[in-house]
Symmetry: C2
Subunit: 303 residues, 2 copies
């Protein structure tokens, strides 16, 4: 019997009997970053539930939609390792696109259900998009993986709070890692190769993790602390080929600590497979409290 890959284990959903669209999940201890669970993993979890909800055919026989085209998550409080409830609901089932809403909540330990993220998404059929893709964008320039810096060489204070990195094989372009030795370039660029440590190949749901799996681009802007995500929107543009993904992060404008982080993900066939943008906020180096009800602005353990 084949063992389930770590990512598939992490986004596994158990339908709750009698309540359609409601699932039990468990946020794994192995996906922590900073004081919470990685925001990309939460996004993939919400995307998984939405795919199950929107895949069903309409009463008139029009087929449903399994692939995320666009998904936007607003992070309300940091996810904590442990049980979680995921709900997904269809808002509209169209011919080419279906749209839905999802939510991830957790018990706060005192019997109150606290929302971690709320998401909206449009799903479609990526197979239908494979014809006629054109782009004026170029894949990010990267040295070969063996000439890049493995995430396991990251500063110890970072690794200590980043069990997520054990799930990934992440190789950062040394030209974009000056921040790791106290010399951020200020350019707002981080690039690297990404694949799963256990060999799990990329698919559209994994791309939702990939857009938020690198160290925060804020590090290259000179921010050293926690950078919670307020909002992250990802567009999936193609089903990725097996093999390494190339991920490029960029940020251009910082307003009082608020900054955008744009991510591009390219597959091994040289195709731009996902685009994302998040609004994040650089805050003081100490991690926030885990309580969601009073956390100070934005709340994803995004990086």
């Amino acid at each position: 019997m084949t063992q389930r890959a770590e990512f598939d284990e992490a986004i596994a959903l158990e339908p709750r009997p009698g309540t359609p669209g409601t699932y039990d999940a468990c946020l794994g201890e192995g996906w922590r970053i900073g004081a919470g669970v990685n925001g990309g993993l939460l996004l993939a979890l919400a995307g998984h539930a939405l795919g199950l909800e929107l895949a069903g055919s309409r009463p008139d026989g029009i087929p449903g939609h399994r692939d995320p085209l666009a998904i936007s998550a607003y992070y309300l409080s940091p996810g904590a390792p442990g049980p979680a409830t995921v709900t997904a609901q269809a808002l509209r089932r169209g011919r080419a696109v279906s749209t839905g809403q999802a939510s991830v909540t957790q018990d706060d330990g005192a019997g109150t259900e606290v929302e971690r993220l709320r998401a909206l998404a449009s799903f479609g059929d990526l197979s239908a998009l494979d014809q006629g893709a054109t782009t004026s964008a170029a894949p990010p320039p990267l040295p070969p993986p063996e000439e890049c810096l493995s995430a396991s060489e990251a500063p110890p204070h970072f690794l200590a709070h980043a069990s997520l990195l054990e799930r990934l094989d992440l190789r950062l372009d040394p030209a974009t890692t000056g921040w790791a030795v106290g010399r951020p370039s200020g350019n707002g660029v981080i690039r690297g190769w990404l694949r799963m440590a256990d060999g799990r190949e990329p698919d559209p749901l994994l791309l939702l993790l990939a857009v938020d799996a690198l160290p925060p681009v804020a590090f290259d802007l000179g921010h050293a602390g926690w950078t919670p995500t307020l909002e992250l929107t990802a567009h999936v543009r193609a089903r990725p080929a097996p093999g390494w993904l190339r991920v490029a992060l960029r940020s251009r404008t910082d307003s009082g600590g608020y900054h955008e982080e744009d991510a591009e993900v390219w597959d091994s066939a040289g195709r731009l497979v996902a685009l994302s943008r998040q609004l994040a906020r650089a805050v003081a180096p100490s991690p926030p409290r885990l309580s969601g009800s009073d956390a100070d602005g934005g709340a994803s353990a995004s990086h």
Copy 2:
């Protein structure tokens, strides 16, 4: 008595007695584009309701939040001129940021309420962001407004379905309007100056219109028809100064007609005041049906 500006009239909300967070609105005949009401106007309408909902103080005295920082709208069906219902609900009231959800619906004429858009948003205080803004982005190069092409010179078939253009003073850079005479550059770039025809000065809500007020960038990619928006996310980064806005649209990747449209908005003081990205779909030149229940994929009268 001062007459209310056209934009303020268009986003006016009348609280519905007895139902907190529910407002009556009217989508104006003068904001049509293609077969529906402009998607940016719907976004501003949802943003207006969210601002009212999130501006209130928390029970513990922490002040509320009036300014949109990030807002994501998923377009479910095209808005039609006439009455609309707008609802807004707080999901979380934090110290620096509050998050909410909004919806715009309309009666389909047969007594059924049809949803036009669903939105999530984070609100904060833009005044707190004015210190320390840094950017590596440059304002879009533009000839002076008097050397640009006024939107009133657009092709007659476009103007006939675009009462929106009468609300705007829009001057497009002639270097990016080849599509208007059958010669799209293929670069995926449209740039121009924007202000309201009646002199109404920009503010954060008006920026939500501004990110979706130019002709679709798809025109410069060679698409000639309808380009409904599936999803649009806008980040507001500063309160805009009075005067002209500069707007730059860009699209780099088209996958089977699906393409991103990135917008930057710069104010007269040379500051990047808003960023947006939408996922749009180029479809055949005929406008879609107005019925929301069966429209073919995405549905905003975005341009």
